[in-house]
Symmetry: C2
């Protein structure tokens, strides 16, 4: 950091199942987070809403409540697993607070709303680096967020050959 | 920085006439550049190519060489002025090398090519934050670069009420 003053920044890192987001977190810890700060890292995970299929849409079956409970549990397990992995990356940080935040909804909405609500100083995101065609159809969470949040956005693309462990 | 090792990063900051890019530079110096590093900041300015009107396109006039020389000079003066302003923002940095680089061409191409050629560790950009309509037509230099460069990209949006001097 250029200043000697102690900084207290809220650094939101969007986490998902992909290793791209773990790479982004690792990069941010190395390049942006200051050990001498009172920075807070907020690990943010958007739990996708469960899609409920009904007989009306032609798929021909309705999930029983048992199946729904299993799916809900699976979704929670994934969220916990992703968060655990992200927290392990942060484990050696001193002075830096680490918070985990899991919210349900579409990643774009969850991230934009959380950044606003938290009053984040910076948003860190990985990117899947889809090709042009896939990007045109799917859009990109990182592009959407970069255009819609008010704070600075750091988009970290994982190099194809890189190894997360090496870069940490 | 999380590590105590001395870093030698190449931080490319795209500079243009708008104060958004000066804000982005200021933010990056405060939040990313390390005084204890051997970081190099590369200030990159893309000088737009002069548009030459010919009688063939129906505009009805051809610029004389005098006018062309004046325009070329004006364009150079703008580039020098922008660079001077950016260098002033960096003037108190110790240990950090600051390089200026002016290249001719469309900003998107210039930035993507320079980042690749330099082997930048991170690209910092301001953004004009166009509204949805303007963005759809004009596209956004920052979005284009975020999607096309391989290194991490930091997009800094200038808050509407912020004052560059205050944040430095």
């Amino acid at each position: 950091m250029a200043d000697t003053e102690v900084q207290e920044r809220k650094i939101v890192v969007a986490i998902d199942e992909g290793e791209e987001s773990i790479y982004a977190l690792t990069w941010a810890i190395k390049n942006v987070v200051s050990q001498n700060s009172h920075d807070t890292i907020i690990l943010l995970y958007a739990k996708p809403p469960l899609k409920v299929y009904s007989t009306l849409d032609g798929s021909g079956y309705l999930f029983s409540s048992d199946v729904m409970v299993s799916m809900e549990k699976y979704s929670k397990d994934v969220a916990d697993c992703v968060m655990e992995k992200a927290k392990r990356v942060c484990k050696d940080l001193k002075n830096v607070k680490v918070e985990a935040r899991i919210e349900k909804g579409d990643a774009r909405d969850v991230i934009c709303e959380a950044v606003e609500k938290i009053g984040a100083d910076v948003l860190v995101m990985g990117t899947h680096g889809y090709g042009m065609i896939k990007r045109a159809f799917l859009g990109s969470v990182s592009t959407h967020c970069a255009q819609n949040v008010k704070c600075p956005v750091l988009i970290v693309k994982k190099p194809k050959s890189s190894n997360v462990d090496k870069s940490s």
